[in-house]
Amino acid sequence: MPALMMDEVRKVYGSGEQAVVALDGVSLEVGDDELLALVGPSGSGKTTLLSIAGGLLRPTDGAVQVGPHRIESYGPRELTRFRRTAVGFVFQGVNLVPFLTARENLLVAAEIAGVERRRARARAEQLLGELGLAGKEDRLPARLSGGERQRVAIGRALMNEPALVLFDEPTSSLDSRLGAQVMELIRAEVKGRGTAAVVVTHDLPMTRYADRVVEIHDGRLVT
């Protein structure tokens, strides 16, 4: 089963003369261990596509399946539950909780998903170690470097072992060297765990880490 399947997805913001078509009949499949890069200019619909795949937005038309979840008809509560366990997000600008330590930022994701505390702690320790953050578990985000914060965000996205991880411009605030390191890390983590990932990026050199690159223009995928 593909990790993500989108079929003829449309997304229209507003209505009448104010209507803006953000996605126009997008069909896309992402394999269960595939790393897909999604590129395109600003306003092309990348972020909308990512938001629909992650259950942050509902499509106007079309079908969206993430693993076993057909989410296009989910209501707000079902989408909240879906986001807890089925997908991981790494947001642009990282967005860690500033007053929680690196470890606690990971635990947030696990505990709201109902993972037992001891198991969640063990998983967090393991991930932090694998992400090269051993010894920095108790640091607040303000005391971590940009790359370390990005790694904590990746750890948070991976905490619940989702089938699909979505990255929104993960290298936009990093220099090219750090950006490359982060992309290498993303690839290693995704491939090492058999997880699918969609990476939205402006940064074309970073697409070399992807298995496949898809371009989007004016809400349509360009083949």
């Binding site: 942050l56 909240t80 997000f89 967005n95 947030v108 505990e111 709201i112 998903a113």
Partner: protein, 366 residues
């Protein structure tokens, strides 16, 4: 880490962020506790005598508007009251507002001299003629048991033979005496208001069954004004006005406390739209976010309550004697649920804003 613990962790790790709100709330708590203390103190000094009576009803003469000084109950009226259905026991009551001084005292002390016939409530049986039971507040003015007070313009001698706790009247310490002693004081302090033998200003009545029903029956049967004790207390001069004024002040402080919490959490919510969006995006529900905010509001309010009560107690201790602050555990405890309720109401103003935070807008700007 569950959302409620995230909220608690923020309070612990960033106490400075909550300190100003907690300080303002603590001041409001202190103010509110002191206002309650003042209200209770003032009410106590005004109404202590009536509360000391502990009777079910007070019966005043017709058209007296429940004022002792305007009221007269003749022996005939008394007989009709005694005969009314539901009346168990009756005793006469009269008061004279005057003054007295002990031998050598530099200034006289205001007194409310009560004549009474029988033991009720906290009052023992009337002392022998020439003796008086004094409100304990007189001890703060240097009066001791065994002292003789020269009462009224002609200095009627009354020996203090005991104390009665909390028994002042309209701010003047009560001196409780036998009927004959009271009539002597009345004759010298207010000769124009001397009452014939057997006539009292009011009757203290023990009722069988519901006091209000018995009062209504007495009023219908005799034409007298009969009031349950609580109502008689509220009709004492100034009591209602005092209570209403203080309650308005207390209500205003409660409102301000609610506004402080509402404003604080409205600002904090606005400031955290992105953070709340992130939490929602990773699966935290609006209810969980509101629960975390409620926990923060309760923590801040609880800390403010503890500090505010401590400040009020300290203030009551250093207040001058003439400021009658009376702090009771019940009142202090009563402030807590009101404050918590107000804080939660204040927080509720952010409810809609939190629910409407759209993770897609907050996190990815769409």
């Amino acid at each position: 880490m569950r959302p409620a613990r995230i909220g608690a962790t923020e309070v612990l790790r960033r106490p400075g962020r909550f300190a100003i709100t907690a300080a303002v709330l603590a001041l409001l708590v202190a103010l509110q506790v002191v206002l309650w203390g003042l209200l209770d103190g003032l009410t106590g000094s005004t109404t202590g005598a009536y509360r000391a009576l502990g009777a079910d009803l007070l019966v005043y003469g017709p058209a007296s508007r429940a004022a002792l000084l305007r009221s007269q109950v003749s022996p005939e009226l008394r007989a009709r009251v005694e005969a009314a259905d539901g009346v168990a026991a009756v005793g006469g009551l009269g008061v004279t507002l005057t003054w007295g001084r002990t031998d050598g005292a530099p200034v006289p002390t205001d007194l409310a001299v009560f004549g009474y016939e029988r033991s009720t409530g906290r009052l023992p049986a009337p002392p022998p003629p020439g003796d008086g039971l004094a409100d304990r507040s007189l001890s703060q003015e240097g009066v001791a048991i065994g002292d003789v007070l020269a009462v009224g313009p002609q200095g009627v001698p009354i020996r203090v033979s005991g104390w009665v706790q909390d028994a002042s009247y309209l701010g003047q310490p009560g001196l409780w005496v036998a009927p004959a002693t009271w009539r002597r004081v009345l004759a010298t302090a207010a000769p124009d208001r001397v009452l014939p033998e057997g006539t009292w200003q009011a009757l203290v009545v023990d009722a069988e069954g519901d006091a209000a029903a018995v009062a209504a029956r007495i009023a219908r049967a005799t034409g007298a004004e009969a009031l349950p004790l609580d109502e008689a207390i509220s009709r004492l001069p100034g009591v209602e006005a005092q209570r209403a004024s203080f309650l308005q002040l207390i209500g205003a402080t409660t409102l301000v406390a609610g506004l402080v919490v509402a404003l604080f959490f409205a600002l904090i919510t606005l400031e955290r739209v992105r953070l709340f969006g992130v939490l929602k995006a990773v699966g935290v529900s609006s209810a969980q976010l509101l629960g975390a905010l409620a926990l923060q509001a309760l923590t801040v309010t609880g800390a403010a309550y503890a500090v505010g009560v401590a400040a009020a107690v300290a203030l009551a201790r250093v207040a001058p004697e003439e400021v009658p602050i009376r702090l009771t555990g019940g009142r202090v405890l009563w402030v807590a649920p009101v404050l918590v309720g107000t804080a939660l109401l204040g927080l509720a103003t952010s409810l809609r804003r939190v629910v409407r935070i759209d993770p897609a807008t907050a996190v990815v700007g769409r």
